[in-house]
Symmetry: D3
């Protein structure tokens, strides 16, 4: 395996700067943020464009990475691909296709994204919609030799995303429906064990049960504030008690999770995703956070 990081948390730095720093700190891969350069999305950890897929030179990007001894583990663009507003949805679907094109141009195997969700409609209806909208997207990627890795985050953090969250792909039950609808070999998961902690889903077992579908791995961590759970209860969707933390500060037992990954033959990148509010706000602090996570994971990623 290789240890990498998702560039989105270093929004203020250029790709060149990110690469230089990551390389000097022992990282081996980057998961490059590819939101539209024109911006627009103001969501936390989103909207970052380290490669402007509408205007970039594959050779110079590759040269930049090469110079720093880094691989690109995937291109990252996480919008709501099932947004209920069709105009908006088509726009983000279109940009996703351009990210796929960019991956193909760069020889990057994987594009990471969200399935998306209409948060106001129940899962069965969203799965209906998924079955319409997603097959052509996966097909488009397949034709270009690119794999789609969808992250298993429910995308609910506050009442703004209530009730259903902005990404339906958060449970084994949903994955089974998704993979039944799209059995294509280039459709899989960007598996993040942290969400499974508050969902109370056994992440080791997921490692074994979905071995063939794990294309990419996010290393984010999470803790459950017990008092918050007491006050709000499991049905509250984590609001008030689930807190994203850096790997090493949360409840994921990384040794055992990584052990499951090795056991099923996963040998790609473990990519640190940084969403710990205690290590944000200034570049130095963000970097300290990445380094803490690196320290916690490095021993197990060989």
């Amino acid at each position: 395996m290789k240890l990498g990081l998702l560039t989105a948390a270093l929004a203020e730095l250029s790709l060149e700067q990110v690469a230089a720093w990551a390389s000097s700190e022992g990282f081996e891969a980057l998961e490059v943020a590819c939101w539209p350069a024109a911006g627009g999305e103001a969501r936390r950890y989103a909207g970052v464009s380290h490669i402007d897929v509408d205007a970039f030179d594959p050779d110079s990007v590759q040269a930049l990475l090469s110079r720093n001894g880094l691989a690109i583990s995937s291109l990252a663009y996480y919008p709501n691909n099932l947004h209920p507003d069709d105009a908006h949805r088509e726009e983000v679907n279109a940009h996703l296709r351009r990210v796929i094109d960019a991956a193909a141009a760069l020889g990057v195997e994987i594009v990471g994204t969200f399935v998306g969700n209409d948060k106001d409609r129940p899962l069965p209806e969203n799965l209906e919609r998924f079955r319409e909208i997603w097959p052509p997207l996966v097909h488009y990627a397949g034709e270009r030799g690119v794999k789609i890795a969808v992250e298993n985050c429910p995308m609910i953090f506050s009442y703004d995303e209530w009730p259903g969250g902005n990404n339906l792909a958060w449970s084994p039950a949903a994955w089974d429906e998704m993979f039944a609808a799209i059995p294509d070999e280039n459709f899989g998961l960007n598996l993040d064990p942290s969400h499974l902690v508050w969902l109370m889903i056994d992440y080791e077992r997921v490692g074994y049960d979905y071995a063939d579908r794990i294309f990419h791995v996010h290393a984010k961590d999470l803790e459950i504030r017990r008092d918050g759970l007491y006050r709000h209860g499991a049905f509250s969707g984590g609001i008030g008690w689930q807190v994203p933390r850096l790997p090493g500060l949360g409840e994921v037992r990384w040794d055992r999770f990584v052990a499951a990954l090795y056991a099923v033959g996963y040998d790609h990148v473990v990519s640190i995703e940084h969403e710990d509010r205690r290590f944000e706000g200034e570049e130095e602090l963000v970097k300290r956070g990445f380094l803490l996570a690196r320290n916690a994971l490095r021993p197990y990623v060989v």
Copy 2:
């Protein structure tokens, strides 16, 4: 304490028949179902009218109970008192007031009901609505010397009640808002520990924290099917993994829950609520279920 039962599961029997059987099996109290006699509500375990509050003779009801050596622990009417359809809501609010009148007429101290919820609106908005609609209801009861005990069930069992369920009063956080809005001494809980199991809220602590607000206790139990939780995750609202069981067959540790009740001075009725599908469908089976629950609870209810 006394051991009682909620009559709703014995819908086919008359109050006379329920009382005779309950008494012969050692029960000491009834929680009498008081849905509108005209019917209309087809929900499982609802719509039962063992006292027709629009037409009954308090003296003969009391005589009937007396003859069987039974007390009435509360009158039970559990509709959606915050139904989004105002016409319907006003109708059920009106019937609730008539149940309150009936309680006053019978000298019954407690009416049990649901706060209700507009399942399609987030909790903060529902609490707003609660603050408008509920104070007059509680006031109405107070004037008549009746206490309102609201049950802590989220009322979500399938996608029909998705996303928010039909009763907002399921978490300590919500109770705090409710009791802050209506501090009246005649407003409290009909505490059912079973819902707290799947909500992963510590029911013993609830016993201590809300001691003054526990007016009535439901003895229902529940189990979490671990494989279902793995497949659906905590965010699914229990759908696919929470299974109501009879007390004695579930995960509530009744000895410790009752210990907390004694510790805080609760000395009213523990009333068995029967919603275990394995003990339904024929009167004999429903009765066996009640007896199993009685056997499990009887040693601790003295």
Copy 3:
């Protein structure tokens, strides 16, 4: 469900005496020991013949049971049906067939027995032998309307039964092989959760996974002496650390086990098997043991 007992522990009493006592103490069914009356088998808890299948009058047995208001839950004969000595094996197989005949004659639905094992040969070889010897036995029973319920005990208690024990049917893996070889509907389990405790197999899950194959249930219990496990380790086959106890004194959570049985629709007999050495040696003590077990189980068996 009904609460019963296996008569073998009351070897000194006649069936008449057992029935009278059991009935007076609230039991509802007997699992009647049917070893050959001529004796021969000296194994603890074996060799008892409460019905001599070679010479009995079905009508008078039924009358006896009827008089005492008892049902027969099954006929019990637990020899080594795969004994490596073919002469001996054929003898016990032959007696098993006579027990089946007796069950048919009595209108008893179930005969309980052991699959048996050649303790000196590994499981795969024993399964081979099982595939030869058992189908005709099951077929014989099926023709007579009788179900075969095999108990899941490894039959290893000391080095005498080492290494493989005298009954191969102790694990889900073995059951799967057995039921694959003999899918007949009249072939199932006499499920005893106590053995599963020291085998560290989840007995609740077994309840769900083998719902269709649970024909009969043994209520025996067991405890693991932690210091013995430390000294001998799991590979020692329980020798030195597994101790049979009466239900109520062991590690089985009967409430949850019975809950699983109800959940899957089991509605036959829970039959107390008494092998607790602390309640043996004199009739009075054996009976006290049965009563303690009855007290522990009675609340849940309705």
Copy 4:
């Protein structure tokens, strides 16, 4: 085993009244409070004299018990037999000798008491004193065919008994010193598992390790209030977090504790000691408490 009760909690009743009620509720033995009739000791649960050992007629006491079908499991007198004030200590030692005489006169095998302690001196010094004062007391009892059973309570409930408590016999380490100093066969324990809960000492293991020294068993229960433990910590001697409860409402697993007692051959009385403040203050309430404890224990005491 037999189920009994310690009469001290029913101080307002005469022995006759206690016996009549206990018998009618299914108890089989009494542990009779024998404090000096002249009174003097005002400690909670102490000072009760159901037999005035200075003036009683053994025959009429025995007749009274006989009439009610009850045995006397032991005579109970729990003072501080190592009181630092020698005059007081000699007085209580002297009364203890009279209780021993009374036991001999009544044919009662066991006298229950406290070893005592000088709460202001460390354990090693108290053990020194124990070695001087106790051998003659045990010898006195032995000559009269009476066993001394000392209870394992640290006798610390508030700062009044701080720091060492009024009874040193609360840990296996102390028992080992005691039994090394007095190996006499008539010196043993009145084992109460409840104290071991807050002392965090494994009560099942105690059952096995001190099998030969368990002369009598107290059935009292206890719970640890987790929040109190957080605030005060283990070093606080339980003040602020250990709460005596009735058996069935506390943390002792009576099934497993009694299982250990049966395993080691204990076959005397399990005697309910009632010190639950929620069931005190009026006779009716005290009795309800005893009945709840009886209900919880009765199934296992056969």
Copy 5:
């Protein structure tokens, strides 16, 4: 955060030597032992004087530290500031004031010490005394811009410190009393989670509950020998079962403890306190101990 160490365990080395070695091994801060240079205190880990506060040159100390790239996290002097012998107490109080003066002179923000205790008097009486003696000490420090950080160790290891230990500041209940009496912002904790392990107090919750009072953190660890706890019980004050260990060899989950510290915004030093008897006796061994602890903590301290 920075990783530091308390110099007391390296008593044989000069401050210069300690600083050089610590710096070369990657430590970033020193907690400098400041007992009176004249000696006198023979207690284990005490009596060390790496800065003689009665005669030192602040500039040269600062230069020494600077040369080695080290900060001083606090000055350390841990006597019994509530010693029952007033003469002795005034002496140590006086030295504490001189340590405060030294801190002011050095620009060191924090002085670490013990509140102290009269081990023979109960907590409420000691708190009374605390309210008299401590306010002027805290005030003295405040006037000089110095914070007082008291360590949460009960200072009981053997019967010499029995019964109350030599430092009352070991529980949240005591802290609440202390902070109520002295709400000054320059009065807080030198939080050591190891003591909380044997006191069975949740150290993560302490991190959250006392966030504002955590001025300094000790990284010491501890294990509970289970057999010792069985023999001596919780009331024995840890004697016989609590064993100080180096961080990484004990029961503190440093990842989760440090996670709580980050969560509440603690960003000062984590200072290794070395009291593991297996790594003592020779300088080499003491240093190995520090390095093991460094290895265990380093990944999380960024």
Copy 6:
């Protein structure tokens, strides 16, 4: 302590190559595989000869190790020294003696091996045989100043080694018999905690109980596949559910195990034994495995 590795997993490399690589990666000791150079044994991880004890030059081996700054922690030869075929057994015993000679010649203190077992005979019979065959072997080593360290592996992985496995020395009960038969001070354990995981034997307690007999430590790890345990049960000897893993990927808590080793004064080598199938097949992968294990252990081995 020192960190080392067992050379057997690097069978394709010469000792020179192993030493150079190990040294460059920070290892401090080698446990050198000494199977007969002529080969013959085809067992996985066996048959490797990094020193041909029949033909080697001690000086040049020592020089080689010296050059690389490495110690030899032990010579390793793990055959079945109680093989039932006497001819074969004598052959392996003879080779074991030559390995002992080699150790003496090299000044290596320890030879590691298996006691062996006749897998088809029960433990008591094997212990009989042990008592005959082993004393002269231990005596032979003692005369040469060499210690024999036997590994605690049951040597059962499939039905080939069923039922008893090829090494009887896997439980405290067996060790006690062994050390009673051979109390010689040069007879002890090469303790590997991984086997104890699936044997469900407390490895920390083993550290304390057998302190004097721990001559050498293997760092191998293991996980129990829960689903396999469900299917096969504890009596299956681990077949189907015990999976060897590298330290850091398994269930051993190395921090606590190493803590026990330090506590009892163990200060020799912790030697990584590599048997994780996911890190096999090519040299690079094997080395990655060793490095992962090194990363996991290095912080605690100082």
